[in-house]
Every structure is written in structure tokens, then in C-alpha cells.
Symmetry: C2
Subunit: 386 residues, 2 copies
């Protein structure tokens, strides 16, 4: 009984107030050379850290966010009531236990939450980059993060972890910097984007570019491509949920008894989508949406080599998680990660969680994830990863 | 061997040239009273027929089309090289054998292929209805078809058949006019639209209404809401295919080696979607898309009653078909039709076809469908349905 009480009181401990910090690097003439061959600099990455780096610098965990995420993964900002996007997983006593581990999360290159992206000022023109921003890949995001990790004085990451696009970055970390990564937790992700995944992104991009307020990408300070970006986000939202979670949440219920204007919001599910579409417009940049979805679509970890070649150099241990009802990143894609791990002689565990939440499950199935992650991290941390 | 040759030569027999005809009814003051309580008239339905009605008038089959279909289900129009949309199923020796059966197909009410819809002239204003067109339901479509069937002198339909929205109309026929329907073949369809199905439609509608060329629905003769309608159609296309059929058809192949302009067409799957989106704009009306998708979303066969009440009055035999990889109208929805048939004591067969084509399978799995339909129709035609 007393053990239970200790556990509960531990879980109630919250992270203190956190704040986003900024790291700027690659000032000309030392720009970052991108996957495309283009140069980009200076680059700022927004990031947050939780917990303390130990004296041996062996307890650092890099958390990587999904398409619309940001550096604020956990804790509270001053004056805000809502914690970071993965707060239930990061904190004292939680899966990524900040009493033990030093957790880092950074906003991706190309993003719009403090990191350099298409809405940043182009130092050459003193105006927002817009479509002059170079094409970005998952590898570029990871190469930028590598500079941040170097800056923080970390030579080896105990773990890189992320769901969805975060999982792609985690895989890319293991492939690009094998000597730096002790373990990987790719969640609800894939080794390469499928044509169906590309198709959904492309339709979202077309909706944005069809919006006259997008103005060929040069809308910054003039307008917001609200209708287009909202449609893109709504398409995304449908793919993040499952047929059954939608049925459970909304059924065929009407939003209210009042008859709306023709083609207005009638069904609850429509109201939900409109709300999330409208909200997204307030917090996300349309051009970032274009660039980041393209990075997703370009993602193919093999990148011209065979997967076996890529994986045979990887030294990390893998905990692969997928969710039964996730139809956007179906479980077979996670099983492909397991398969190539096994083939390459990598220690890998695959866990398929019986969730009905669809792709969103990686943000919602906290208990299952916590159980699996805690056990895995303990093993990796206590093992020899030097 | 000789049997095979006869079969082949039979299959080569084509329908002669066919043409679309028009039936106009419900002229004021005898307008059709719609589900909404509003009145509509006069109404024209475009329709085609294939084969001959027998002297007993017992061989009539009504084929019902899906969202973007039309009355031209089979045969060739003068000067056209492409036959009707279900030509592989309708004709001499085919599943719906026009040597035996009299097949009718009509464009739905609310459509834009010759039947009265939002692009038709409103006799009150002498201008296209636009959004003054009343809300249409699947039941309204069926009630209009009933007038056509009466006009053709048919008291009893040997079979009503359709895939997707056509299947909903077929179910509604059996429920609304039980004494007129001997058998029903609902294919890849549902008893009611699910929130996921509503969600995809709603995002398509929002894309159309976000297009400034839509002009609040009053674009007729002025512009075409091309970008919005194209996005809506592309969303549809993704849902009509399966993840695996897309992977097989496109993989991650690039369209050509030339590097496109930023955010132009790169992947083959993007080119395919763009092509079909652009093509659709040339042949479909944006307002019809709004009205017909709303009719789909409103569809709930129970309509305030219990399903058991609805089905216990149905006299038809059922052949229910669904496709394993169809995730837009998943097989569980077809199994629900079977379940309520069994409960209500209706003779029903459920066939799940092991196709990888997704929802499109109902237009593609011709061999399987032909086999099942031929056998079923023979049984129904030879049985007593009087």
C-alpha cells in the first residue's frame, strides 16, 4: 500500500515552469548544406529541456515532434494553463522520467514555432523567405538537431524517440549518426512515405495553394491562407482518427437542433473538424505546412541504398510501437522496421497496442506507452552504451 | 472447348448504340413533395434503357449510380469511344443480360447529367437554381425514380442494384416500395453514413465553398469552382482506392526525371490525382457535388424508426456484396445489412470479395460480380415474384 501512495504522490509532481530557448548557428559563410545541395544559414532552433544532464552526460533523451508539434513538449509556460504536447509522458516519475533523464525537444527546421522556416526573415532580402526557403528533408531536420546536441555538449543520446514524423526523425538519427544513438523508439511511423500518405498531403497542399490569400506563398504580413490551411488540417484530422473512434465520439448526432444555413455545420463531426481547422490557422503557418509535408513525402530512409546497408551500421536498440486502428501509418509499416532490424541483427522489440484511437493513439495511449518505455529505458540505461 | 468458344463470342456482342432519354413530370401545381417538405417541379430525369421489357413486364432491372455517375451505364453514344460506366456488367450475355432483362438507369435528382439539379433553370426566376435548389435526400432520388418506373409501365422491378450511393438507393427502394421490389443487390454500401464518411464529404464541400469562383453558389455561366471541386474529387479518389492498390499502381515513383517547380507535381500518385481532379471539373457541377454529398450524409435508412421495423416490411431477396480492402464503405457495414435481413427473416446472401482495389472494386471486380449476379438473378427470375 505504501508503495502505491509513493507512486501516486510522485506522479502528481509537475515540472516547474519551463521556457523555450533558442540556438542559432550556421551563420554565413558556414551555412548548413542541405540534402538538396542548397545552403541555409543562419539557422535558429527553438528548444526546451527538462531534467538535468548527469555528470557523465549519459542520460540525454531527444524527443522529436510530429507535423504540427513544437519544442514545448512538457511543463507549463508562464501564464498558460495547457502543458506541452507530451506532458503526460515527460516529467518526474513519468515515462521519460525527468528525475533520471535529461529530455530535449526542439522545433524542426522548416517549422513556425521559433525555428527557422519559410516565415523567418531571409537575411538576404530582409523579408520572410516564403517560397525562397529551400526544400527541407527529414535528414536536414536531423542534421540541424545534431548541431543543437553538439552545442549542448552531448556526445551520445540515450534515446531518440518520436511518433509519426517524430518517428521518422528518430529513424534518421539512428541511420545518420549511429555512433551517437543508444536506442530508438519509433512510434506509429514508417521507413518511407507510401503513395496514400503522399496523396493525403498533396491534397492538403493543393487546398492551401488554391486559396487566393496564399498569394503564391508571399502572404506574410498581408493575409493568412485560412480557408486552405483549415481544409488541409481537417483532412489531416480525419486521417488521425479511426472510423470507430469517430463513431464513438460523434455518431450521427447533430450539433444542435437549430437548422443551419444550407451547407453550414450540422453534424457534430463537422463542428469538430471546423473547430480544429480554425484553431490550426491561428497557430500554424501555411508555408511551413507545405514544406514539412513535402519533407514527409520525400522520406525514404533507404535513400538510394538498400535498407540492409542502412541498418547494418545502426548500433541502437529498438522499441517499435504501433496501434491496431492506425490506418494512416498502419501497423505493417512498423512491422517492416522490425523485420529489417532482425535482418541486420539489431535488438528490437515490436509492440502493437490494441487501441481504437487511430493514429492519434501515440498521443493518447499514455498508460501502455509509459509501461513499455519505462521498462525499455531502464534496460538501456543500465546496459552498457558507451 | 466448343463451350468456351461460344462463351467468348457471346461476350463480344455489344449493345447497339444507345441514347439518353428524358422524362419530365411533376409540373406545378403537382410538384414532387420532398423529404424536407419543400416542393419541386417540373422535374426531368435523364435515363437510358437496354434490352426489352417482356410482355409480362417481369424482367425490369433498375441500376442505380454512385456519386459521380450518370444515366449512361452501358453501350455507346454516337461518336463516343468509351462505353457507359458499367458496360462490362450490362449487355448481351453479361451479368445483367440484356437478352433476358430490361435494364434501366437514370441520373439522380440533384445531378448534373440531364436530370433536374442545382444547375437546372429555376422556372420561377429563369436562372439556374444554384443554392435555391431544395435539399435532396436519397429518398427523394428514389421517389423521383418511382415516377419514371411508373411512366415506363413497370409495376414490379425484378431487381434494384447499385454500388456505393447506388446501393443506398437500392436499399431505399426496398424500404419505400416493398411491393415493387423482388430483389436487391446492394454493393459496397451502408445502412447509414458514418461520421468518417460524413467528414470526408464535408472537407470536400468546404474546399468547394472556399473557392472564390464558387461565388456563394451563383457561379453558373460566370465561372467554374475548378480548384475547389478538383480538391474535393481528389479527396474522394484517395478514399476510393486502397493503400495497397495505390502502392501497387504508383509506389514512390516520380512522374518524370525533370525537377518540377516548387510544390509542383512530382510523384506519380500526385499526377494521377491532378489528372482526375482536373477531368472531373470538366464533367461535373460543383453545386451538384454539394447537394449529392449532403444526400449521402443524411442517409440513414432507419430514418427515425428501428431498422427492424423498416426491414420487416421488405419482401425482396438480398444479394449483399462487399470488398475486403474497401475502407470507405468497410465490410462491417455490409454485414450489418445481412444481420438485419436475417433478423427480419429476409432471404439474404452476403459475399465478401477478396479484392485489393478498395471501394473502386465495385466497378472493377467484374468476373466475381458477374458470377454472383448471374446466379442470383436466375434464381430470382425463375422463382415466384408476383
Amino acid at each position: 500500500m505504501s508503495g502505491t501512495i509513493v507512486q501516486e504522490s510522485l506522479e502528481k509532481v509537475k515540472l516547474a515552469l519551463v521556457e523555450t530557448r533558442f540556438f542559432t548557428f550556421a551563420a554565413p559563410p558556414d551555412e548548413l548544406i542541405l540534402d538538396s545541395g542548397e545552403k541555409l544559414g543562419p539557422i535558429t532552433l527553438a528548444y526546451e529541456t527538462y531534467g538535468k544532464l548527469n555528470s557523465l552526460r549519459t542520460n540525454a533523451i531527444l524527443v522529436l515532434h510530429a507535423l504540427s508539434g513544437d519544442a514545448h513538449a512538457a511543463g507549463f509556460h508562464i501564464g498558460e494553463k495547457k502543458p506541452g504536447w507530451w506532458d503526460e509522458m515527460i516529467g518526474p516519475g513519468k515515462a521519460f522520467d525527468t528525475d533520471k533523464y535529461f529530455v530535449i525537444c526542439s522545433n524542426v527546421l522548416g517549422g513556425c514555432k521559433g525555428s527557422t522556416g519559410p516565415s523567418s526573415i531571409n537575411p538576404v532580402t530582409n523579408r520572410p523567405y516564403g517560397l525562397d526557403f529551400p526544400t527541407i528533408t527529414i535528414k536536414d531536420m536531423v542534421n540541424a538537431q545534431k548541431r543543437l546536441i553538439d552545442h549542448l555538449g552531448i556526445e551520445k543520446l540515450l534515446c531518440v524517440v518520436g511518433g509519426s514524423m517524430g518517428g521518422m526523425q528518430a529513424l534518421q538519427w539512428a541511420a545518420s549518426y549511429p555512433e551517437m544513438v543508444c536506442s530508438v523508439i519509433p512510434i506509429a511511423t514508417t521507413l518511407k512515405h507510401s503513395p496514400q500518405q503522399i496523396a493525403f498531403n498533396e491534397v492538403g497542399r493543393l487546398a492551401i495553394m488554391a486559396d487566393p490569400d496564399w498569394k503564391g506563398g508571399n502572404y506574410h504580413g498581408l493575409s493568412v491562407a485560412a480557408r486552405g490551411l483549415s481544409v488541409a488540417r481537417m483532412i489531416g484530422h480525419i486521417t488521425y482518427m479511426s472510423d470507430s473512434s469517430m463513431s464513438e465520439k460523434f455518431g450521427r448526432r447533430f450539433r444542435n437542433s437549430k437548422i443551419p444555413s444550407k451547407f453550414g455545420t450540422e453534424f457534430e463531426v463537422e463542428g469538430y473538424l471546423h473547430y480544429h481547422g480554425d484553431n490550426f490557422v491561428k497557430r500554424f503557418d501555411a508555408n511551413s505546412y507545405l514544406y514539412i509535408t513535402k519533407a514527409l513525402d520525400y522520406f525514404d530512409l533507404s535513400n538510394g541504398r538498400t535498407l540492409f546497408e542502412v541498418f547494418k551500421s545502426i548500433r541502437a536498440k529498438f522499441l517499435i510501437m504501433a496501434f491496431k486502428s492506425d490506418w494512416l501509418y498502419p501497423t505493417y509499416q512498423s512491422k517492416e522496421i522490425l523485420k529489417i532490424c532482425k535482418l541486420a541483427g539489431i535488438e528490437a522489440t515490436y509492440c502493437e497496442i490494441n487501441s481504437t484511437y487511430g493514429h492519434d493513439a501515440f498521443l493518447l495511449e499514455i498508460d501502455e506507452e509509459t509501461h513499455l518505455v519505462k521498462h525499455f529505458l531502464k534496460k538501456v540505461f543500465n546496459g552498457l552504451c558507451v
